[in-house]
Structures are given as structure tokens and as C-alpha cells.
Symmetry: C2
Subunit: 138 residues, 2 copies
Amino acid sequence: MEQLPNMRLTTQRQIILEELGKVTSHPTANEVYDMVRKRLPRIGLGTVYRNLELMAESGIILKLEVGGTQKRFDATIDPHYHIRCNSCGKVDDIDMEVQPLINQVAEKASNYKILGHHIEFHGICQDCQEKNSDTTVN
Amino acid sequence: MEQLPNMRLTTQRQIILEELGKVTSHPTANEVYDMVRKRLPRIGLGTVYRNLELMAESGIILKLEVGGTQKRFDATIDPHYHIRCNSCGKVDDIDMEVQPLINQVAEKASNYKILGHHIEFHGICQDCQEKNSDTTVN
DNA sequence: TTATGTGCAAAACATTTGCAGGAGT
DNA sequence: ACTCCTGCAAATGTTTTGCACATAA
């Protein structure tokens, strides 16, 4: 497990990272908790939150803020974009070229020193199109 | 006040919309509550939440999900992007061209029917650069 | 007049934190 | 040993909701 210098390698951390790596679904902290609890029934939700936060700070996972009320986590850290289904609420990766020039454009247009950007698309996923679902999720 | 067919024009709604229109700071629901309370001391926080939500659904204001723990609201509804200061947490509009082609690229790259996108930049605002501040905000 | 909106308080969620005991180095 | 980490539970912060009364249309 990649980690910051003084971050101990605990069973909890290994399993959180393993479970997060198994899925492509951008789970919430609570979903990670459920996944991990199958292997470590006594783990606390606080531990999951603390470690996801620490790993996101260390850069070994990504913390997403893609709308809805909960944050989501992603084991894939290379720059990529996300798309959220307005109908069922799921979040997928989207395989398109990351825009490197856009930060320069933004830097010229603002007084900010730009550190990064993310683009979030929203739409209707194929499953929901087929179901003709019209239930909208936050 | 623009509104949906059966949305009544109440004092509370007028004042919430007026106060939101006065600022460019993308206030949180609680900040709107504080602004409005100066003119309507007995208004409830629930009323502010309910109405901001309704107005966002009607499209007369924008609800932003730009990271941090709270949602923010914007009286300017034409498509534009936002930039958040990693140091002090403030959110500014950014005056750059909105990317119209990007939805087509994304639609080709996904199974989704794309309804829209937003881009959020993050960086360090000029004030914080001058202060050399290194305190990071969620 | 009557459906919709409001104030208030409580509930529901998501997340964070204090602390005493446990485990990695 | 000596930190750092964990489980647990309580606290915090944000948003939503139930309900009796008020009010716009």
C-alpha cells in the first residue's frame, strides 16, 4: 500500500483500499463501510471515514464531490471525468480526453492561481433510458 | 418574480430572491437565512431551504455543488463556471467561454444522454496569494 | 374559501470527534 | 515502549419534515 511516511499499515487500511479497488461504482463512505464490514465486522464507521479522508489527502485515492448529499470515493487516481445519472443517481467514469489547456484559459480569466479542475456531466444512463424511467434523484 | 404556475408570490419568496440577487458571493442556505432575517426576523430556516430548493427546481436560481459541506445558491442562471479558493473557501464566478462542444464529445464517449455539464476550477485566490496563506479549507 | 405556504421544533442524515483501550513499528 | 490507530458513542452540522396556524389567490 502506497502511503505517507508516517502512516501505519493497518489491517483496516489494507482492506478498505482493497475493497475500494474492487469496484468501479464510486461508493460513498457508508457503502465502503458495508463492503469492509463483511471482512472486518467490528470496524467502526469513524475509522472508515478517517482513513478514506487520509488516503484522499495522501493522493492514493480520489474524493469526489459530484452532487447529491454524500461524498464518493474512487481508487482510480489518474485525471478523468465523471458523469452522473439524473434518474438513478449512479456515477460513472467517462473515458474522454482530459482538457489540459483549460486551466490556462481559466488562469487568464481569473485572479486565481489554478491548481486543477474537474468536469461533471449529467444525463440519463443507458439503463434508465431503456426503462424510460423518469424518477429523478438528487 | 418569475415562477412556476402554481407557486404563490409570498413576501418570504420575494425577499429571499431579492437578497440573493444583491450578492455575488454564492451564499449557503444559512447565509441567505441570515441576510433575509434582517428584514424578516421571524422567518424560519426551513422556509429558506424549501424556497431555495423550489426556486432551483423552477430554474430561477442555480443550486451549486462545488465541494465543501454546504450547497450554495446563485441568482445568475446563465451557464457559467465556478472557481473555489482552496485556502479561504470562497467561490467566484469565472468569466470564460462556456464549452458547447464538450457535451457532444462526452455523449460519444458514454452511453448517456447528456443533459449538461459543469466545470469547477480550484486554486488560490488573489487575496490568499497576497496573504501567503497556507491554511486549507475543505 | 381553500389549497399552498409558514414558523417552529423535532427528526433525519452525513460526518467528525473524544476517549480509553489496542496494535504497528 | 511509544506512538499512532481503532471501536464506540456522543456531538456537530446540514437539510428535511410534521403539524397547526396563516395567507395568497
